[in-house]
């Protein structure tokens, strides 16, 4: 890589600052040497020597190698000692430029410039130490180049969004009430309490018991104080029969879990409202602390409808909005409908982003899902059984009755069948749908226009059975729980992906 004209180095203070930061570590290594008077801690001396011999030249080479260049169309940063890297960040991709000054930097009149693009929370480009004036120059020139870009090509995408969004909300809400007055979704008190009933979580029990353990009360004294001997009969029964003790403990625990769930939800979702205001969504909720938030509509990347078997049995769902932004607060999954019927969930989603296909003339319905290949049952069963066998084997090695864990293998089959039943995918002109999960049921509604990267993958075992998986990556997607459609027949996976990509291209061209 030849040096470019216009390339700059960091401020020479970088070196001093890095040395300064390295000194405490050196001191820590040398501490035993300083403390022992006869210098027996030779090992630390050697370590310190190695540290000095490696770290200081390393810092110097790192400083020498680091160059940056701010051009009208991009920022180029070259860095690295062993691995040399040149990074190019197009100026129109930059979302934010931060200029920070710590204490050390304030003393030396320098600053740190962080350049953020969309995508990750970490800064994509960091100029560690530059003079404060230079920091401002960098920031201002990036802004200048950005506004020049917007000026010369009328930002069609932004204009498009500005046009699309009011249209979208009027389409979806053809009532005469002004937008701001009609919330998209509201939680009544009754609904909040009802949602708390479904928020049955053992977590709070665990918290309760750990608290009890922490304060270590004398149980008998406490019970006496609480009920004053009125339930002595019950207490005696409990001490005589372990079954009664077990039952009563369970009942108390369940009641506690229920009540705490209601209390937590009441605190969290009391007075939840979601409103559309121009190109933004506002939500506010909370009893003790009132929380408000804003979601810009164009940052909405996907919808996630969540439920569990219990909630689903009674027809309750939760809608989350997958968002994306350079700001940590703007990314991740935001709750749009904490607790609602499928009708409410879909209606709200449709008013957030119109074009969801299912407010069809016959009313709102769930999207039609296609099943994945039945072979997925076989794969899941083998996988669960192997996992179970490994656990059973490991347990058996230490404790021979552990082998009885293998009697759970029929459950693995049940699990595999349930997994198959709850897995599904669907597609249409603008959306891809994926559904997964037995206990935690997720349905993703992915707008094809929000696609970032498309994947098709097939492991060795999948290929043997002629299967493949499909995944469309969007910004802000969860890494732990991806919207991946697993075990589609290979040719269908290929077709669906090709079709989705073709649609993606069309959407943007039109």
């Amino acid at each position: 890589m030849e040096p470019d004209p216009g390339e700059r180095r960091l401020h020479p203070w970088t070196l001093l600052q890095r040395v300064f930061v390295a000194v405490p570590a050196l001191f820590l290594i040398l501490l035993p040497v300083i403390r022992s008077s006869d210098g027996i801690a030779w090992f630390n001396l050697v370590l310190a020597g190695m540290y000095a011999v490696l770290v200081f030249p390393w810092s110097i080479v790192r400083y020498m190698r680091f160059r940056y260049r701010i051009a009208p169309e991009e920022i180029a940063i070259r860095s690295g000692v062993l691995t040399v890297r040149q990074r190019n960040i197009p100026v129109d991709r930059i979302q934010n430029v931060e200029v920070e000054q710590g204490i050390l930097q304030r003393l030396t009149g320098t600053a740190r410039v962080s350049i953020f693009t969309a995508g990750s929370t970490a800064a994509e480009g960091v100029l560690d130490v530059v003079a404060l004036g230079e920091a401002h120059r960098v920031r201002d020139s990036i802004r200048q180049f950005q506004s020049a870009l917007v000026g010369e090509s009328p930002e069609d995408s932004l204009a498009e969004i500005a046009r699309a969004i009011p249209a979208a909300s009027t389409d979806a809400a053809p009532n005469d009430a002004p937008q701001n007055d009609a919330p998209l979704f509201e939680m009544t008190m009754r609904r909040v309490i009802l949602s708390g009933v479904f928020r049955f979580s053992l977590l709070y029990i665990a918290l309760f018991f750990s608290f009890v353990q922490y304060i270590e009360p004398d149980p008998e004294a406490m019970i006496d104080w609480l009920i004053g001997g009125r339930f002595n009969a019950l207490a005696n029964a409990a001490s005589e029969s372990p079954l009664v003790a077990f039952l009563s403990t369970t009942i108390v625990a369940v009641a506690f879990a229920w009540l705490s769930g209601i209390a937590v939800n009441l605190n969290k979702y009391h007075g939840f409202t979601l409103r559309a205001d121009g190109d933004k969504l506002h939500h506010k909720q909370g009893l003790l602390s009132r929380n408000t938030g804003t979601i810009p509509l164009r940052k909405v990347q996907a919808f996630i409808i969540r439920t569990n078997p219990f909630m689903r049995r009674f027809g309750w769902y939760r809608l989350e909005v997958q968002t994306m932004g350079f700001d940590v607060k703007e990314r991740g999954h935001k709750v749009a409908v904490p607790f609602g019927t499928m009708d409410e969930v879909l209606r709200t989603a449709n008013r957030i982003q119109s074009g969801l296909p299912y407010p069809d003339p016959h009313g709102i319905r769930e999207p039609a899902f296609n099943a994945v290949s039945k072979l997925t049952i076989r794969r899941a069963f083998i996988r669960y059984s192997v996992a179970l066998s490994v656990v059973a084997g490991g347990l058996w090695y230490f404790w021979s009755p552990g082998i009885w864990l293998l009697s759970l293998i029929p459950l693995a089959l049940v699990g595999a069948i349930l997994r198959y039943r709850h897995m599904g995918w669907g597609e249409d002109e603008r959306w891809l749908y994926v559904r997964r999960g037995v206990i935690k049921q997720h349905t993703w509604l992915l707008p094809i226009e929000r696609t970032q990267v498309l994947y098709r993958s097939a492991s060795y075992f999948q290929r043997r059975l002629g299967l493949a998986s499909l995944y469309i990556d969007a910004a802000g997607a969860s890494a732990m729980r991806p919207a991946e459609a697993v075990d589609l027949p290979e040719d269908i996976a290929r077709e669906v992906l090709d079709r989705a990509y073709a649609r993606f291209k069309e959407i943007k061209l039109s």
């Binding site: 991009e74 690295g80 062993l82 691995t83 040399v84 890297r85 040149q86 990074r87 190019n88 960040i89 197009p90 129109d92 991709r93 979302q95 693009t117 969309a118 995508g119 990750s120 994509e124 930002e155 995408s157 932004l158 940052k299 990347q301 994306m324 696609t451 970032q452 990267v453 498309l454 994947y455 098709r456 993958s457 097939a458 492991s459 060795y460 290929r463 995944y471 990556d473 969007a474 910004a475 802000g476 997607a477 969860s478 890494a479 991806p482 992906l497 090709d498 990509y501 993606f504 291209k505 943007k508």
Partner: protein
């Protein structure tokens, strides 16, 4: 689909991969040998004498011989005006389509081993999660730079 002109990586990348595996293997073998030497006279050894060292040698030897060849065989890519298309994987075969207008920024990088063979990587970043970083290894260094310049021309979309 850009099925037509899929390209292989530069064959020299196999050597880079092999050297990396051999370095890891050397570390593992030294560790295993240290275990064997330290437990030389221990009668209650967990593993029979020499087994750790020999198996480390065999495993890494085989891996360094086979993995680079297969990895190279299954790695293909193509760059068109609209997308970067990758196909790779020995066990888990993955096809990736990166629409170029989704590219946020790019790296061209080269580590010490790659420098010996004048190879480089092109790393393409998007705003996605799994696809936040898509790596195309084993390019001639100047070719990686050329590809970067080509991709730059097509980054036209609005930011997320």
């Amino acid at each position: 689909m850009p099925k037509l002109d899929l390209r292989h990586l530069d064959p020299a990348v196999q050597k880079v991969w092999r050297i990396r595996i051999l370095i890891a293997g050397a570390v593992a073998t030294v560790a295993a040998a240290a275990y064997d030497v330290l437990n030389l006279f221990d009668t209650g050894r967990f593993l029979p004498l020499g087994l750790a060292t020999v198996s480390a040698l065999v495993v890494f030897g085989l891996a360094s011989w086979l993995l680079p060849r297969f990895r190279y065989r299954f790695w293909r890519f193509s760059l068109t005006d609209e997308e970067l298309f990758l196909e790779r994987g020995i066990f888990n075969r993955v096809t990736t389509i990166v629409p170029l207008r989704r590219v946020q920024h790019m790296d061209v990088s080269q580590d010490v081993i790659e420098r010996e063979f004048s190879l480089g990587n092109l790393v393409v970043y998007t705003a996605g999660t799994r696809g936040s970083q898509v790596i195309l290894p084993g390019l001639q260094f100047d070719e990686a730079e050329q590809l970067r310049e080509r991709i730059k021309l097509y980054i036209t979309d609005e930011p997320v």
